[in-house]
Amino acid sequence: MLLRTPLYESHLAAGAKMVDFSGWEMPIHYGSQIEEHHAVRRDAGMFDVSHMCALDLVGPDARGYLRRLLANDVAKLTMPGKALYSCMLDETGGVIDDLIVYFFTPERYRIVVNAGTTDKDIDWMRACLGGVSGGFNATLMVRRRGNDDAVTMIALQGPDAHERRRTGVDAVAMIAVQGPRARERFWTAFPDSRAATATLENFQAAEFTSAQGDWLVARTGYTGEDGFEVTVPAEAAADVWATLLAAGVKPCGLGARDTLRLEAGMNLYGQDMDESVTPFEVGLKWTVDLKDPAREFIGKSALATRQARNLFAGLLLLDRGGLRAHQKVITPQGEGETTSGSFSPSLNQSIALARLPLGVALGSEVEVVIRDKRLKAGVVKPTFVRNGKSLI
């Protein structure tokens, strides 16, 4: 039985084609993936991302715990609402997951992890809460629910764990509203939210209480466009979705989400990266914070000795054809492999993310084996489109 988000009925009402995504019954498109893609590049679209798992971390050791758990350093978060993108590594430096963490106080954070990795992440986080030196005094609470309408409560640890298990916490739904007109349409839909969200910078969030409960609005996303990711009580999700729809925000499925993130050069966990690679091998060196020599995050010592084995690059197909994941790439320096590939609706040609042998130069030409043919592709920086503009 597939899990359903609080917006399941809203998707059916909007004509969604539903598919199994990591055990969740999610919309792949509502008619045309390409039209949804263009809506986000040119106007505003919305995605149900409630299958991703929101977790609350509270307790006196929350900050210290995250400084050990994550490769990026939450110590740089000082303004309430500020967010950080980070990898969570294992002891070998391999990527367990990528996530966003929001800072509220040094004793309270929100973490959002991928749907397909949630169980694995929570097991890891729970194990790390126990830790080496007697553990961290912090509690991790799951804010997502599945079919059974019960708030999932796992990974409880800390002095008030029993209390929280008894009282529970409320489940949330998350809607990503993305596109050049996303914020404007969001404010049309929810004029009262404007005061709290108008001055948000990128990777900054605001908490406020509306008539529909507690909201978290963050200027984040996974499309390469401006916009908000909005977290609301699960019970309010369908109303919020309907209000955004009435304000002209187009429902968009996971198909468009994939082509948008690929054009933006953003990795998809499980496809472009996993435990077998370090952040250095998938273009995420900028997310590994080594500034504080005293900070011993998990995976740090391995990263110091583990050499990058490949170049992470973008490919732009110069012939007609389709780039897909796991195609062989032939270069003068040896063979490589695509990890994600698709037709790019914005560029009207095929693009891919690829792992290439070290030494392959940006701007050079390589060949991709597509259905037994060798087609020419250009090696480019793995960011193809940002804010509606081609970077190629």
Binding site: Q33, G321, G322, S342, R371
Partner: protein
């Protein structure tokens, strides 16, 4: 699902229509276009190519997948729909109007046998 009764269908989701001049027009079914999603690229066979029934002779590529198209009958490709290749989304809009290619059968009796081996609308719909 739209499956016109005047067409014959292959289990691999092509449709075939015997024309008055004896040629056979080939396309993909409404079910196929729906399953593929937005179609972005058609690779059509060269006119003059001789194909056998069951032979790969075209590729329909959507945003999410590439799909081989097989010749439903044996013969020579006498026409390819350049208008559809120029506007691949026309296959999504109407898979039965946006045909892909036309085959002139090598022999009428062999063609009749090959067409006879395809599915009728009801039988095809039952496979979906």
């Amino acid at each position: 699902m739209n499956t016109p009764t005047n067409l014959k269908y292959a289990a691999s989701h092509e449709w075939a229509r015997l024309e008055a001049d004896g040629t056979v027009t080939v396309g993909i079914t409404d079910h196929a276009q729906e399953a593929l999603g937005d179609i972005v690229f058609l690779e059509l066979p060269a006119v003059g190519r001789v194909v056998k029934a069951g032979e790969e002779c075209a590729v329909v590529e959507s945003v999410k997948a590439a799909s081989d198209i097989y010749a439903p009958v044996s013969g020579e490709v006498v026409d390819a729909n350049q208008a559809a290749a120029d506007a691949p989304e026309s296959v999504n809009a109407d898979a039965y109007a946006a045909w892909l290619f036309r085959i002139k059968p090598a022999a009428a009796d062999q063609c009749a046998t090959e067409l006879g081996g395809l599915l009728g609308a009801e039988a095809y719909a039952a496979t979906l």
